[in-house]
């Protein structure tokens, strides 16, 4: 774990919104030299704070009109292998994220589909047929915002 100072936080805030900003562009905004910014970004990458980049696409424009979050409870725990379930669910292209959670459900899945009937197809043919899948709860995503987190 690394300690961040005020300058690191400023750099992270800029990069969190736009990962394509160059060290020299950030330097100009913060009144710092390009090498000084670059050294700090490198340190943030090496310590794992900056884990990578994600391309932000407009799912609607690409024909994916529906995002659904599924809570999945495994049936007959102990008899199904978590590895088998995770491998199978991770291989479904429409499943964007898989989180192992503790609570009412065992797994939380983010699923994209073209529309609700396409979602029904994914749910019936791919999700319900997973090894060990039991109870499933679906919530259709209406809006979503990502916050900068405690780097302010």
């Amino acid at each position: 774990m690394i300690e961040l100072d005020a300058t690191d936080r400023k750099i992270l805030r800029i990069l969190a919104k736009d990962a394509t900003q160059s060290a020299s562009a950030i330097g100009r905004r913060l009144d710092m030299s390009q090498p000084a910014v670059w050294r700090r970004i490198k340190r943030l990458q090496e310590s794992g704070v900056i884990a990578g980049r994600r391309l932000r696409l407009d799912a609607d424009k690409l024909g994916f009109g529906v995002t659904v979050f599924l809570g999945v409870k495994l049936a007959r725990k102990g008899q199904v292998s978590l590895e088998d379930f995770e491998r199978a669910v991770g291989a479904i292209p429409e499943v964007q994220t898989v989180e192992h959670v503790l609570g009412l459900y065992d797994y939380r899945l983010r699923v994209v589909a073209r529309d609700l009937s396409d979602f029904e197809r994914v749910l019936r043919r791919r999700i319900m047929t997973l090894p060990g899948a039991g109870d499933v709860e679906a919530n259709v995503l209406l809006s979503e915002e990502r916050r900068p987190g405690p780097i302010g």
């Binding site: 992270l12 394509t20 900056i50 932000r56 424009k61 994220t97 898989v98 192992h100 503790l102 990502r146």
Partner: protein, 151 residues
């Protein structure tokens, strides 16, 4: 409208957003000029919205991540607006999602450890307006997290 070549570009860019123009063109088997023209067109039309940094909060000492599934008191006309405005003021809230279903809102909250989470939960979360019910899912592991669209 997008064609198969655009989709090919997006597939490669989704897999590795750090690809430069030359590498991207080579992987897509196009000339660099053609490839970059298509990328720019998709940026202008808003299909490509940008790139964000994926943060690893554990590396900053935030070991706990909790998904809070919240039902709001919908007899209050301003329940959603009031709640969302107040939730945006909590720095430890990373994601705010609204739903159609059994759950109204979900917050993704991080904390340094369990005592810190307990303090946040009592002083910042339970004090949010118009909450009717809360369920918590404790995050154990991320099995898949690339958020790639199946193009």
């Amino acid at each position: 409208m997008l064609d198969d070549l655009d989709r090919r570009i997006l597939r490669h860019l989704q897999a590795d957003p750090t690809l430069g123009a030359a590498d991207l063109a080579e992987r897509c088997r196009m000339t660099q000029a053609t490839c970059w023209r298509r990328v720019e067109k998709m940026q202008e039309s808003g299909v490509i919205q940008g790139q964000e940094t994926v943060m690893n909060w554990q590396a900053l000492g935030y070991a706990v991540e909790v998904s809070l599934r919240i039902t709001l008191d919908k007899t209050q006309a301003r329940a959603f607006d009031d709640f969302l405005t107040a939730a945006r003021d909590v720095p430890e809230v990373l994601e705010i999602q609204t739903f159609l279903g059994r759950v109204d809102v979900r917050l993704s909250v991080i904390a340094r450890d369990m005592p810190h989470y307990q303090e946040l939960y009592r002083t910042r979360i339970l004090t949010l307006p118009h909450i009717a019910d809360i369920e918590a899912l404790m995050h154990i592991a991320r099995v898949k997290s690339d958020e790639v669209l199946p193009l």
